[in-house]
Amino acid sequence: MNPLIPLFVAVPLGGAFLTMIIGKFLRNANKYIGMTVLLFLMVISYISITGLSGNISVYKVGGWEPVNGTPIGIYMVLDSLSAILLCIINTIGFLSIVYSFTYIAQYTSENYFYSLFCLMVAGMNGIVLSGDIFNIYIFLEISAISSYALVAFGVEREQLEATFKYQVLGGLASMLILIGISFIYWKAKTLNIADIKAALGTNTAKSFYIPVQLLLLSGFGLKAAIIPFHAWLPDAHSSAPSPISAMLSGVLIKAAGIYVILRLFFNMFIITEDMAMLLTTLGALSMAVGVLLAIGQWDIKRLLAYHSISQMGYVVMSAGIGMILLARGTKPEVASLAIAGGLFHLINHAAFKSLLFLNAGAIEYRTGTRDLKSMGGLAGLMPATSSTSFVASMAISGIPPFNGFFSKLIIIIAAIMGKFYFLAVIAVIVSIVTLASFMKFQRYAFYNKEIEKSENSPKEVPFPMVFSMVTLAVLCLVLSLIALPQVRDVILTPAIRILTDSQLYTTSITGM
């Protein structure tokens, strides 16, 4: 029993509640409540990742002990994979909320913003921590409903259209997920992920397995915006206020999409080769198509949103490669390497994509436009924005010594060692096209023309925004340290062990 686990959900829920009540009477209280909540969560997520040391700790809600070895209560499970995701969610959340201090002041009803923000964080923490599939669905809906509201926060034409599209597709995804869950319950008569694995066993018919896997893959694929399901992402992520774009792109698609896919396909289902092939193909497809769609964009935030699809493709593809190798039973060390690359890229993508969205927000804050053609020459006027966005652009296109280089390198090496030469070539080409696309962004936004410094020319953004951007830029550099073996053993290796060892997760939870 780890007493920290329920705090991850309870504290932001309480924060959301308090913001609405206290914010009515005290001006500015909303900001500080939001910041304190996220700071607290960030600290306890670091405590939990360092204190875990490869173990799995379980919190049984309401203290319902298992009966005859069958878990009956609601389990909240904190393992190394969840701990990584918790660190990402709460760090990016904290920095986005600090950024919002001045950015959101241009909108009305700030109370609602901070309250919804806390709710969204509560939902995501819940998804990552819950140990049974029905609670994943509930927390998914909590985070999704608050993100629908946050995308529409500006209530202008574009925001409303984007949020309608997002909601219809999100609702469709929820239904697919719920049907998948009910099929699983029908067969296994339990909802606990570890228990389902034990109950379904190895001899369940394929005719049952494949439709359920396809239902869940399309449901969570819609949430993760893997390529055939990506239609809502560019609209929703580009229309939202910038700190929210950073949260959606940097965190929500990972926590609600990729994380759950990894958890279900590695820890709940038996890994089969055809499903692994499908996942790899979808990943490679998102990687290539996402970047090709991105290259023609002139709206900064749409460009970044399409790059999110492409970069998530890397993660899905490397997880798929790992699954193929595990299903074949050959080269387990290459499988671990591929999954390590995927997880590492997941962490890195959170840092650099949030930074890029915050940069886009800073540019929009000062110049009032998102169109690359009508800006330029900002390098001298906004030095902090310009230099941090340069760091992020280099990181996303995989230039050493930034973090993106190491994760892409690990993925490509794993693909070559697993004899997936075609996928390795695609990964390299996509990386080059990404570089080209970000060169365009840098050139049109920050150089290209000279602007005289005058009274009316755009100037550097206020301190809270600069603070968030600089911190994330430093993180982009520091995260490359995960490539070192000493750091990797603490952060990545236990998470990979949970994913690759088919029995570890089940036995350690049903045994408690």
Binding site: I138, E158, L160, F164, I179, S182, Y185, Q297
Partner: protein, 112 residues
């Protein structure tokens, strides 16, 4: 079996509506139809033939009870469905104020 099939037909009716309707309100209604077909399916899963409501009576030890867990799940899911529908309706009202129409063909600022 026939009930499950009817459930699936209801789901397809909802899906057809979401895909083909042009009116925002009708899309929302179709989405609700889909939701309710799913709830119906969940409730059916818990049904046991000749089962009685799961209130344990010590006097009759050999009766069969239906599974109560799907019922709890359906109740939760209905509440969530209510929240999403309310949210969609709020957005539709806002859209109507901005665009003065509910026709999806005329609401297409975002492209590409």
């Amino acid at each position: 079996m026939i009930l499950y099939l009817l459930c699936f037909v209801l789901f397809l009716v909802g899906l057809y509506g979401v895909i083909t309707r042009r009116n925002l309100m009708k899309i929302t209604i179709s989405l609700s139809i889909m939701e309710f077909s799913t709830f119906l399916f969940l409730a059916l899963i818990g049904y046991v033939k000749n089962g009685v409501p799961p209130i344990v009576d010590p006097a009759k030890p050999d009766v069969i009870y239906v599974d109560p867990l799907p019922q709890a799940m359906v109740l939760t899911a209905i509440v969530i469905g209510l929240a999403t529908t309310a949210m969609l309706m709020a957005v539709i009202i806002r859209i109507y104020r901005k665009y003065k129409t509910l026709d999806i063909r005329e609401i297409k600022n975002l492209r590409g």
